[in-house]
Amino acid sequence: MKHILCKILLHNKTHPVVAASFMIIGAYIGYLIWYILDSYLPAAAADNGYVFVSLISVWLCAFWGIYQLPDQLCMNRRIKMILCYPVEAQTIVSVVAMRIFILQSGICAAFLYPFFLFEAHRRREAVLAMLFCCILTGVMDIGVILFSILLSRFCAYDIVGYAFVVFQYGSFLVLAWLAGNVVFALWGYIAGKSQAVPKEQELHVALWVWAVALLGLTVLIMALRFAAEHWYVRGYLNVQDFRHREAGKRPTTSHITHPYFLLEWKRVTRNKELIFFSNIKNMITVMILSRLLFYNFSQIGLTGTYVEELFLLMSCCSVNTISSTAYSSDDNKSCYAFLPISGQRLFLWKTIQGFLWGEITVFLFWPILICLERLPVLSAFLLLLYGTSMNYVCSWLGILIDLKMPRTVNSTNELLHGNISKVLVLITATILTVGEIFLSSRKWLPVPLLPFACLAGAGVAAGEICFWRFCKGVFYDTDS
């Protein structure tokens, strides 16, 4: 029964080719990391390289758990279908958690199997490290499930969706911070370590760590059994109410003058997580992303006046969740094929809405830039023009990618994290901006960087408008 339940809930069957591909990727990445550690780690610290690898594997498992567990357990619309059958809540939780845990164990195995190849004489430590990573991952998974159940059960139905977005995104940030500080600090400690720890002390610490991990796992499993039995189903229904609480409300009679605008407005305002995510979360993303891009590209010599500002505004425009989920998050998508709706006009209104929502982020960062950098008036207006034109370019591109490569999801939350169309928009916008900076920094153009960037952005936007105007057939979704 668990096998059927797994198929219904997760709605994807891993093909043997996909499973084999994952194994090849894991085997390659694991071996590559161990090769680099073996070749470039100082000889004194080489014995402790496996600690670093274990930390990376646990970090990845934690990331995957936080991304998948709340979505699959509390947001998954398919669970509602099976609640009317005699299936225990504990079975649902265990099926989903086991499926995710198996993948995480695969990650741990992929990262630690080269331990047997590179340090053939330390097989016992390799097995213990693998086992410890799996136990730690299990503890974290149960912690995430428990916290998700508590959030879903004890948060009011009108804020529970936001609470989940904050929990998931906050956890991603904490993990990123841990990767940047704790993991690399520990790496520095390991690399600089010259004296081996005394054998007795090592054994003492190891025993304590194992005892704490096993005790923690036992206590958490008991707590999870209790929470799943008493709180899970009511919590799940509470989360479902977040989106559909107004289902019984009778709509008032009104005359619709702009049907395309209304369709798109309803699509955005109905998905409350999207609005919340697009504005609150994007602030942090934009700041991290622009710093990252500026730091990396300045290292290869792409520097100059207004480069940092351009990267900041470009980041604002390219992380537009409203546009990159324009079709995937639209519940009415299946009806468009047989209704007298122009795909071209719908695309235009989706672009306008995405553009307007994205412009909020641009308008939030633009005054901050002016205040902090004390820019001249002309530069300030050129930056606004650049932000606006790039916003249109990114909005249009995000919607086109989502139209051509729509995504089928179990919950809206799945669209918020790891959305590949957003990544493609970001890559395209980065290539465009880097190209502009490169051409300007090499003095191949008679125009300074800022006016050139504005012209290029406006030119691409004009090209997109022409494409929309003359290539009608592209904007019809033939798959729906």
Partner: protein, 77 residues
């Protein structure tokens, strides 16, 4: 990409500088490093499959990846 990388292996030097952190390069044997680009492409492809996004557009993405890969290999020769 895997086939082309295998062919390029015959022409590449013994070690290639495919990984770096800032200006510090970590040369690795070609036999190991040459598969990095195809593996990245495979990850991208699996992401597309998992998100049910196998359309004409991702063929374009792979053509771009292939061009980047060949450009970097020619630079290393």
């Amino acid at each position: 990409m895997f086939v082309l990388s295998g062919i390029m292996l015959l022409f590449l030097p013994e070690q290639i500088s495919i990984l770096h952190m800032g200006e510090t390069y970590y040369p690795i044997p070609s036999v190991l490093g040459v598969w990095l680009f195809p593996i990245i492409a495979l990850i991208v492809n699996l992401l597309f499959i998992r998100q049910n996004r196998l359309t004409k557009m991702n063929s374009g993405v792979f053509v771009i990846l292939l061009a980047v890969m060949m450009f970097s290999y020619v630079n290393m020769m």
